[in-house]
C-alpha cells in the first residue's frame, strides 16, 4: 500500500513552536494534509512524553494512534483517514571534535515508548531535557548513535536537515566533510540522511558517497500548517518495521515530496541582516567576506554541496528514488490571491478546496485541474498546474531568509483578472 509519512516535526514543547502542536492538532492536520504516518517529535521532553503516553496508545503495527476520546476535532469528511504516530525525537549535539566546535542535529526513530524511555534515562544523565523539545546536549553525535543502537537495534538514527550551515552533519559552519568523519566506525549504521528544505535529491546525487544512503524528506514543522511541506511516499506495509526497513534498504521507499530547494532558508549564501544574497560563485569573488559588515558570509547549501560534490550537476545514481517538488497549498493560494500565506482569505479558500476534493497532497499531486478549477478560483488551478510543471520562479533563500516564490508574472495576473471579470 502506498502512503505518505512525515517523520520529523516538533511539539508545542519545542522553542518557537505553535501551541496547536498537540496530539489532537497534529492528528487533525495530518488528515488535512493526507499524511498516514507522522512523527510524534520531541519524545525526549518530559512534558511531551507524558502527553503522548496519556493520549496515544500503541497499536499492533509498532506505531501509535490517538485514543478515541481525544478524536473530537472537526475534520472534513473528504479528508478523514487513519493516522498513525511514530515515536520520534530530535537532539542537538554541540561538542568539539578535531579542534572545532561541532553542531549536529539528529533524528531518532524508535519502535516503542520503552525504547524512548531508555534513551531518555541515558540522556538525562548528560543534560537537561526539559528546556527544549529538541534538547541541546554536549554529546558527540557518534555517541548519540551509540546510545540509540544500545537502546534498541530497531531504532533508527538519521542526521537531520543534513546540509543547513549551522546545525547539521555537512553544515558549512560546524559540520563535517563526510559521514565517516562524524560517525567513524558506526557510519554503517547511518542508513539515511534528511535532505532538508534547502536541498533536493539531484543536489545530493552529486556525492557518490551518498549513493547507498536513503535520502528522506520531512517537514520539521513547528506549526500545524507547515506539516508535510516535505514528506516521503512509501510503498510498503504501514508499520514501524515496514517504514524503517524501507528507509534502510530503499525497497518500498517510493519517492520524496520536496520543497523547491530555492525556497529553503539556506539555499544561497549571504547575510540576512545586511540584505546580501549571493550565488556560490559570487561569494568566492567576495572572498567569503560580506561587503556590508565585513564578517564571514553564511555559506548556503548549494555552495556546500558544490564543495563536497565529486560529480557534475545532472548525474543520477542507479536506483535512486524519484521525487516530486511542491509548493504548499496555502502558499499557492496566497500567490494566486496576492495576499498573506496565513490570511483569512487564504485559509478559507484552503478549507473550501480540501473539503470538496480531499487532502492537500491529493490536490497538489493528483486531482485533475478541471476539478480544482470547478471549486476554486481559476488562478489557483492555473498555479497548481504551473507548480506541477515546475514553471515557476523563485528568488533563492539565504541566511535564514526563505526564498520568494513567484508563480505568476505581473502580466499573467492582469490577463487572468480580465478573464475573471468576464464571468
Amino acid at each position: 500500500m502506498s502512503f505518505i509519512a512525515d517523520l520529523h516535526i516538533h511539539s508545542r514543547f519545542s522553542r518557537a513552536t505553535s501551541p496547536d502542536m498537540t496530539p489532537e492538532g497534529i492528528w487533525r492536520w495530518a488528515q488535512l494534509k493526507g499524511i498516514a504516518v507522522i512523527g510524534t517529535g520531541d519524545f525526549t521532553h518530559p512534558g511531551w512524553f507524558k502527553e503522548i503516553a496519556d493520549k496515544l496508545e500503541p497499536s499492533e503495527n509498532g506505531l501509535l494512534t490517538l485514543k478515541k476520546q481525544y478524536r473530537n476535532q472537526d475534520i472534513p469528511s473528504s479528508c478523514r483517514a487513519d493516522v498513525f504516530f511514530m515515536v520520534t525525537g530530535e537532539v542537538s549535539c554541540i561538542y568539539s571534535k578535531d579542534g572545532k566546535t561541532r553542531k549536529v542535529h539528529c533524528i531518532l526513530m524508535v519502535p516503542d515508548m520503552q525504547t524512548a524511555a531508555r534513551i531518555n534515562i541515558t540522556l538525562s544523565k548528560i543534560g537537561n531535557l526539559k528546556s527544549d523539545g529538541r534538547p541541546i546536549l554536549g554529546l558527540d553525535a557518534r555517541e548519540l548513535l551509540n546510545i540509540t543502537l544500545d537502546a534498541s537495534p530497531e531504532a533508527l538514527f538519521i542526521p537531520a536537515h543534513a546540509w543547513t550551515p549551522h546545525f547539521s552533519v555537512f553544515g558549512a559552519a560546524s559540520g563535517f566533510n563526510s559521514l565517516s568523519e562524524c560517525f567513524e566506525d558506526l557510519t554503517p549504521y547511518v542508513f539515511s540522511i534528511e535532505t532538508g528544505l534547502s536541498s533536493d535529491p539531484p543536489m545530493n546525487w552529486r556525492l557518490s558517497s551518498l549513493d547507498n544512503i536513503t535520502l528522506i524528506s520531512n517537514s520539521d514543522a513547528h506549526s500545524p500548517v507547515k506539516i508535510g511541506r516535505e514528506a516521503n511516499i512509501f510503498e510498503t506495509e504501514v508499520s514501524y518495521r515496514g517504514i524503517t526497513e524501507a528507509i534502510k534498504t530503499k525497497k518500498g521507499f517510493r519517492n520524496t515530496i520536496e520543497f523547491f530547494p530555492e525556497e529553503g532558508k539556506y539555499h544561497y549564501d549571504g547575510h540576512r541582516n545586511c540584505g546580501i544574497c549571493l550565488a556560490p560563485e559570487q561569494t568566492k569573488a567576495y572572498d567569503y567576506i560580506c561587503p556590508v559588515c565585513k564578517k564571514r558570509i553564511t555559506i548556503g547549501v548549494m555552495h556546500r554541496v558544490q564543495t563536497l560534490a565529486d560529480r557534475d550537476n545532472g548525474s543520477r545514481p542507479e536506483g535512486a528514488p524519484d521525487y516530486r517538488s511542491i509548493i504548499p497549498l496555502n502558499e499557492v493560494i496566497a500567490e494566486a490571491l496576492k495576499t498573506g500565506q496565513n490570511s483569512k482569505a487564504v485559509m478559507s479558500e484552503y478549507f473550501k478546496i480540501i473539503s470538496n476534493l480531499g487532502p492537500e497532497f491529493k490536490i497538489l499531486l493528483e486531482t485533475p485541474l478541471d476539478d480544482i478549477g470547478r471549486v476554486s478560483h481559476p488562478l489557483i488551478s492555473e498555479a497548481i498546474k504551473r507548480v506541477r510543471e515546475n514553471k515557476i520562479h523563485i528568488s533563492p533563500g539565504y541566511d535564514g531568509e526563505y526564498g520568494r516564490i513567484k508563480i505568476f508574472e505581473e502580466k499573467d495576473i492582469k490577463v487572468n483578472s480580465r478573464q475573471m471579470s468576464l464571468f
Binding site: 518530559p46 507524558k50 566546535t101 524511555a117 534515562i121 548528560i126 543534560g127 528546556s131 554536549g138
Partner: protein
C-alpha cells in the same frame, strides 16, 4: 649522561622535590604547577631507588584525589607500583584499625549520626544537626576538654561503643590514640618509611596529630600544598600547620614549584597581585609557562543578578556560536562562525554561596544550554530515593508493581525533570519482574549520584561554589557576585576572615586557563540584600592594566530592544 626517564620533562624545582627523599620536605605547590605530576614521579623515583611499595604511603583528602593519584601512578609505574598505599585520611585510619584489631566495625554515616543525636537531644532534627556539628568539631579540633566535659559527646560515644560502631571522625582519632600506646600499632606505623601528604594546608588538628604520631617512626615526611589555597578553616583546618612545617620537622627542605602550566600570564599575575596582600603565607614567585594570548580580565557590572546571569550566558554564546535556529533568527547580526573550538565543559561559573545558583540556573534553562550544578539538591534527592528503593528491594509486598513503588518513592518530588525521569524509569523497566525492574532502576539512579560530584565526562557548563572548584581547571571561568559582603563573605555584623576569603577568591581566579570574567551587580535580591551593592574590595588589588571593564546597566539594555526589532 643519559637522563633518568623518571626525571624527564620535569623542571628544576620539580626535580628537587622528586629526588629529595631522605628527611622532611615541604613542597610549596601553587596552582597549576604540576603538583600531582610531581608526586607521581616522586613515588616512581622512590621505587627506582629500591624502596618497597608497601613502605610508601600517600595521603589525600578526597576519594577523587586518591583515585586520580592511584591511576596516574599505576599508569607511570605499571606493575611495580602495586602495593603502595594511596589513600584518604579516613581510608588510612580504617585500614589501620582493621589491621591491628582484626575486628570489623560498623561505619555510620551522617544520616545515622543525626538519628542518634536527635534522640539524645529531644527528638528534633535541627537539634540533632547542631549536636553533630559540635561533636564533629570536638573530634576534628582534638578538643580534649570537650571530650571530657560534654555530656552529649560522652553519651553519643557510649552508644557507638555499644553498637560496635565508629563515625568518620573516629577513623582519625582512634589511630592517633592507638599509636601512642599499642605495640601492634607501632609495628603498623613502622611499615611506612616514606610518607607524603597532599593538600597539607587543609589538615585539621587531629589529622596533624596523626601525622606527628606517624613521624615518630620515620622522618621522611613530605608535605605538599599551598598556604594560599587553604580554604577549609570552617571545617577546622588550620593553615598554621603548613606555615609551621619547618619548625615541626627540623631540618626540613623547602621546595617551591614555581612554573605554572595552566593560566595565561595575565591571569597568573593578577592572582598573585591579589594574594600577596595576605600575611599568613609562604612567599613565592610563580611564572607562566604557556605561551598564549593575554586576554584581559573582563569585569562585567550589571544592574542585578538576573542581568548578571544573562550576561554570562551571552558571553558563552559569543564563544560557542549560535545555540539554535531560534537564536540565529533573534540575533541582530548574522552569526560569525570562527574557527573556535569550544565545548560546554570549557566553561565554569563559580560563586561564593549556593543561593546564587538559582538565577544562573534559570538563565541556562532559558537559553537551552546544558549545565550541571555541582553539589545540587537534585543529586541529593536522587540519592535519598535510591536509598529508599534499596530498602524496598528486600521488602516487596504482593501486588506492588514497579509503578506503585516508584510513585511512592518519588512522592515528595515536585521537580519536572525528576518527575520525567520517574516516568521514563517506569516505562523502561515495567515489563520486567518487579524485583529485577527495581534493581535496574537502582542501578540507573546510582549513575546519577556518583560519589564525586564533578564528572569531567559530562560535557556541560559547570556551576559550583568557589570551594567546590578547588583542584579543577577550565578554559573560561566566570566568578559571579564579586561584591563586598559576598566576596569577602560577611554574615551580619560579624566580620569574616578576610585572608581566608582572599584565598578563596584566589582559588577561583586560578582555575582559569585562557580567560577570566569577574561579575558584580548593583542590586541583588538573592542574598538578603537590597540595592546598592558595591564591588568587592579585592578587585582593587588587581592592577587596573589587567582589567577590561564592561558596564551593562539597565538603561543600556532598554535602549537596545527597539533597535533589535526595527531590523525585522
Amino acid at each position: 649522561m643519559t637522563e633518568n626517564p623518571i626525571l624527564s620533562g620535569l623542571n628544576k624545582a620539580q626535580i628537587k622535590a622528586v629526588t629529595h627523599t631522605e628527611g622532611p620536605l615541604l613542597v610549596v605547590a601553587g596552582p597549576g604547577t604540576g603538583k600531582t605530576h610531581t608526586i607521581v614521579r616522586r613515588i616512581a623515583y622512590l621505587l627506582d631507588i629500591g624502596v618497597k611499595p608497601h613502605e610508601i604511603l600517600a595521603i589525600t583528602f578526597t576519594n577523587r584525589a586518591a583515585r586520580e593519584m592511584r591511576e596516574r601512578t599505576e599508569a607511570f609505574t605499571g606493575q611495580k607500583g602495586i602495593g603502595i598505599s594511596i589513600v584518604t585520611f579516613h581510608m588510612f585510619g580504617l585500614n589501620m584499625l582493621r589491621h591491628i584489631t582484626g575486628r570489623e566495625f560498623t561505619l555510620i554515616g551522617r544520616d545515622e549520626q543525626v538519628e542518634i543525636l536527635k534522640d539524645l537531644t529531644g527528638g528534633r532534627v535541627k537539634d540533632g544537626l547542631d549536636a553533630l556539628d559540635k561533636i564533629s568539631k570536638i573530634k576534628n579540633l582534638f578538643d580534649e576538654k570537650g571530650m571530657e566535659n560534654n555530656s552529649i559527646y560522652q553519651r553519643y560515644q557510649a552508644i557507638l561503643r555499644d553498637m560496635n560502631a565508629l563515625d568518620l571522625d573516629d577513623l582519625i582519632l582512634l589511630p592517633v590514640e592507638l599509636l601512642t600506646r599499642d605495640e601492634k600499632a607501632w609495628s603498623y606505623g613502622e611499615m611506612f618509611r616514606y610518607i607524603m601528604i597532599d593538600e597539607y594546608q587543609d589538615i585539621n588538628p587531629s589529622q596533624y596529630r596523626l601525622i606527628k604520631a606517624l613521624s615518630r617512626f620515620t622522618w621522611n615526611i613530605c608535605a605538599v600544598g599551598d598556604s594560599d589555597q587553604a580554604i577549609y578553616a570552617f571545617r577546622g583546618a588550620d593553615v598554621e600547620n603548613f606555615l609551621n612545617f619547618e619548625r615541626d620537622f627540623h631540618g626540613a627542605e623547602v621546595v617551591v614549584l614555581d612554573e605554572n602550566y595552566r593560566s595565561s600570564g595575565i591571569i597568573l599575575e593578577a592572582s598573585q597581585n591579589l594574594i600577596k596582600n595576605n600575611t599568613k603565607r609562604i612567599k613565592k614567585d610563580i611564572h607562566a609557562i604557556r605561551e598564549i594570548e593575554n586576554i584581559p580580565i573582563k569585569l562585567i557590572s550589571t544592574y542585578d543578578e538576573r542581568a548578571e546571569a544573562e550576561a554570562i550566558v551571552r558571553e558563552i554564546e559569543n564563544r560557542i556560536g549560535a545555540i539554535s535556529h531560534f537564536h540565529i533568527m533573534q540575533a541582530k547580526q548574522s552569526y560569525d562562525y570562527g574557527e573556535g573550538s569550544y565545548r560546554f565543559s570549557d566553561f565554569a561559573i563559580l560563586y561564593r554561596t549556593n543561593s546564587q545558583s538559582r538565577k544562573l540556573k534559570e538563565a541556562f534553562v532559558e537559553a537551552g544550554i546544558p549545565f550541571k550544578v555541582i553539589g545540587d539538591t537534585d543529586s541529593r534527592v536522587l540519592k535519598q530515593i535510591e536509598e529508599r528503593l534499596k530498602n524496598r528491594l528486600n521488602d516487596i509486598s504482593h501486588g506492588s508493581t514497579l509503578e506503585s513503588i516508584l510513585e511512592e518513592a518519588f512522592s515528595s518530588v515536585e521537580d519536572d525533570e525528576l518527575t520525567g525521569l520517574k516516568r521514563n524509569l517506569i516505562f523502561a523497566y515495567r515489563d520486567l519482574p518487579v524485583v529485577e525492574g527495581l534493581s535496574r532502576v537502582i542501578d540507573e539512579l546510582s549513575l546519577f549520584t556518583s560519589p564525586d560530584a564533578f564528572d569531567p565526562e559530562a560535557d556541560a557548563v559547570h556551576l559550583m561554589t568557589l570551594h567546590m572548584s578547588k583542584g579543577l581547571e577550565f578554559k573560561v571561568v566566570f566568578i559571579a557576585g564579586v561584591e563586598d559582603g559576598i566576596i569577602p563573605y560577611r554574615l551580619s555584623q560579624r566580620d569574616g576572615d578576610d585572608e581566608e576569603e582572599r584565598r578563596l577568591f584566589y582559588v577561583g581566579m586560578t582555575r582559569a586557563r585562557d580567560e577570566l570574567c569577574l561579575c558584580y551587580c548593583e542590586n541583588r535580591s538573592d542574598h538578603g540584600k537590597g540595592t546598592g551593592q558595591r564591588p568587592s574590595p579585592f578587585i582593587k588589588e588587581i592592577p587596573e592594566a589587567y582589567i577590561k571593564h564592561m558596564v551593562l546597566s539597565r538603561r543600556e539594555k532598554a535602549k537596545k530592544k527597539p533597535r533589535q526589532q526595527r531590523l525585522f
